[in-house]
Amino acid sequence: VSHLGEDLTALLDGALPPARRAEAEAHLAGCDACRAERDRLAAALARLGALPPPAEPSPWFATRLEARLAELEATLPGGAPAAGRTGLLGRLSAWRWRLALPVAALGAAAGLALFTVRHQRAGRADELAVAAQLELLEDLETVRAAGDLADADEVAVVAALDELLPREGRP
């Protein structure tokens, strides 16, 4: 007998497409085991309604966040946050052609590094990964700030690139 499995939870969540929902309901009507499982899951989900309400921000949440934002903005050249980011990206964009050669060299380094850490995944996928990393070169600060690098290998690669990337004030 094939029971509902994942569809049972999706049915409770109203997340099944109409046709599949009709099939699932028809199955439920004739299956004691699935009805019992549905009732068990529904009861558990109903219990979640008795949880304490979520934590509220404290009265000083905004004040502290504003202070941290001010600290962050103070580190950005150009003042206002969005303008600062746009300015940074804009400057990187303007520097793109002047940096073409070093960036190409860094790209080669990135390719080599990625090839080293992902040597088992050679081929077209790696070329695309290198191209993606080249995009990161244009926005390293953002990438590092966002903290959304996929794994330790990428962190290591970007850290190495960061050391190589020309930067204002860096010889």
């Binding site: 008795a50 949880l51 962050l72």
Partner: protein, 196 residues
């Protein structure tokens, strides 16, 4: 994306309108503090994590495009940040030894007004049991469950936040729900703990 009420604010912020960012964080502060609190027990730490999330959003705002719904993107940033925090805390705990017992209800919270003491105590036990079982789940199941059951996101929104498919979300939520249901069964040992 015209159906996204936050898109105009993000676009304005990208154009340098700082007030637009303030409106955004005011709109989502409560949700983010609550969401982060699902991952850490300490309320002050949850608030700090929520602030980190807004700082990350601020720092990477230039990368957002209207093709991504802001709310989904925000939850993605928050989920990644909270999971990173858990990994960091677990790593630290392995080095330092266990510092905190997640299983006991927050007595400070229970002391506040509202529902009866009995209801508060039961809610505290339930929350503690939920924290324990959530901590035992794989990260992706935990995130999907919290986003679905506690934050009310749709399967599609969760797929966006976790950068996976709706089919994968369906599977994650099902497996997590089955595990949580077993732990929250009134006869389960987790809920029997502390009862006399």
């Amino acid at each position: 994306m015209s159906q996204d009420p936050d898109a105009a604010l993000m676009l304005a912020f990208q154009g340098g309108d700082r007030a637009a960012f303030r409106t955004l964080y005011q709109r989502y502060a409560r949700a983010m503090v609550g969401y982060c609190h699902r991952y850490v027990k300490d309320a002050a730490r949850a608030e700090e994590l929520a602030q980190d999330v807004f700082l990350k959003v601020h720092a990477s705002a230039a990368r957002w495009t209207p093709s991504a719904r802001f709310k989904t993107w925000l939850y993605r940033v928050a989920t990644n940040h909270c999971l990173n925090e858990l990994r960091r805390a677990e790593h630290q705990a392995r080095q330092d030894g266990p510092l905190d017992e997640e299983g006991s209800p927050d007595l400070d919270a229970l002391a506040s007004g509202g529902p009866s003491p009995h209801q508060e105590l039961e809610a505290g036990r339930l929350e503690a049991a939920l924290r324990r079982v959530l901590a035992s789940l794989p990260e992706s199941q935990r995130a999907a469950f919290v986003l679905c059951r506690l934050e009310g996101l749709s399967y599609e929104e969760i797929a966006g936040a976790l950068e996976t498919s709706v089919a994968a979300v369906k599977s994650l939520i099902h497996r997590a729900t089955v595990t949580v249901a077993a732990a929250l069964d009134p006869a389960a040992p987790d809920l029997q703990e502390g009862r006399t």
